[in-house]
């Protein structure tokens, strides 16, 4: 409904959608939209997760029906639903860092291995930012090597060890990051501890040993 001014002139309603006219105004508007996009993905993930739990508590077939309808009506495919469900399960951890997440469900899904403290640490160290590309999120995932296994009684567990030998190829600063990522990937894929040569430790830093 239009506002009426005191002198009788009819004014257009202020719908709050006036476009900015300067760089800083546009920057604020775009930043806000970009950051809220990630929050939107988290919200729909939570809704999907809650719906699954709530319907399955009554009858698993109700959830299958909803899931099928969302897929058949071209709203969310089954494959994307599964990834959103994983994100939805991590909602309490992720919502705290929503403003720092890249607004893509695949990128957010790749952050699933991090717990709340690790995510906050990434934000603090400015490694987690909304401008991250998917491969950069993947690299973040690879350096996570936390352990939460409690073994009781005997025998003491022996950890398999994979030794990485020096190949003689010169490692430059340019490919140091790639080498670091490769070492982390070997750990990830094989589950082995990676033992570096003294030269490797010197090149990649103490932490990688």
């Amino acid at each position: 409904m239009a506002d009426v001014a005191i002198d009788g002139e009819i004014l257009a309603p202020d719908d709050g959608n006036a476009l900015p006219t300067d760089v800083s105004g546009w920057k604020i508007k775009i930043t806000s939209s970009w950051k809220s996009a990630a929050e939107g993905i988290l919200r729909v993930s939570k809704d999907l997760h809650d719906a699954r739990k709530s319907l399955k508590d009554v009858d698993r077939r109700l959830w299958l029906d909803l899931s099928k309808q969302l897929h058949d009506e071209n709203i969310i495919s089954l494959g994307i639903q599964r990834k959103l469900l994983v994100i939805g399960g991590k909602y309490p951890e992720l919502i705290n860092v929503a403003a720092y997440l890249p607004p893509r469900y695949n990128a957010i899904y790749n952050l699933r291995a991090f717990d709340k403290a690790q995510l906050e640490k990434l934000v603090k160290s400015k490694k987690l930012t909304p401008n991250l590309e998917d491969r950069e999120v993947g690299a973040l995932r690879l350096v996570d090597n936390s352990s939460d296994v409690e073994t009781v009684a005997e025998p003491a567990t022996r950890h398999s060890v994979l030794r990485v030998f020096q190949t003689g190829k010169r490692v430059t600063n340019a490919n140091k990051a790639a080498l670091s990522a490769a070492v982390a990937q070997i750990r990830e894929i094989s589950g082995f501890e990676v033992v570096l040569s003294p030269k490797g430790i010197e090149l990649l830093g103490e932490d990688e040993g």
Binding site: K68, V86, G89, K90, V149, V152, A153, E154, P155, G191
Partner: protein, 221 residues
Amino acid sequence: MEAPSALVSCRRISDEAILMPPSQFLVIGDEFLVSGTLPSKIKKSAVVSLSKKVEPSTTITDAKGLFEKAQQLGTRSVAGFTLPSKILKRLKALGVELGSTHVRFFPHEERGIVARLFDARIGSDVLLPRLKRIHAAATITISDHPANDFSITISIETLNHLPADDLLVSVYRDGIMEAEPVSAKIAHSFYCRDQGVCEPYTSFRHEKLERTVYFVSHPSE
């Protein structure tokens, strides 16, 4: 009728798959029942061969009843969690390392949902009459979110057959566990049944008997 290529990964579960229009399939193995939806539609119900070991595929007429029975498994859930591929891999490796026979999933008072690997034979003189070994168990935290009370135990063989993927796990009131792989190309779930065994919760050396005594909680209590 040829087996849809999407079912190739189910060869390790069984040599045959049962198809029903419009696009449903069932694979019945020793450890699991696998149920899912094919990406393409099919016209007739049929049993299709997934390997060369069995007879060529045949069409069938009464698949509907079988699919309805499969749907009746696990109707009301009691708990749900995501089992990350990384933790699944560690569970499989630790299971081998510790010689575990089973893994039990349950909510821990302080740590959220955990998986505990254990050797179910340890408390039984019948199963292990002469083997003198020290019981080893490992507990891994899966999720630190609070959960309803539940307990479900599956064998290590079953665990090892689960695909190396993030799994959306649901536990049902009738003791059925469903695991749905997140990254699979076709939508499908693995269903298995609670094995009804628990790890010993304490053990001590009995001086008079000169043996180690294990107390085991009854799984139904």
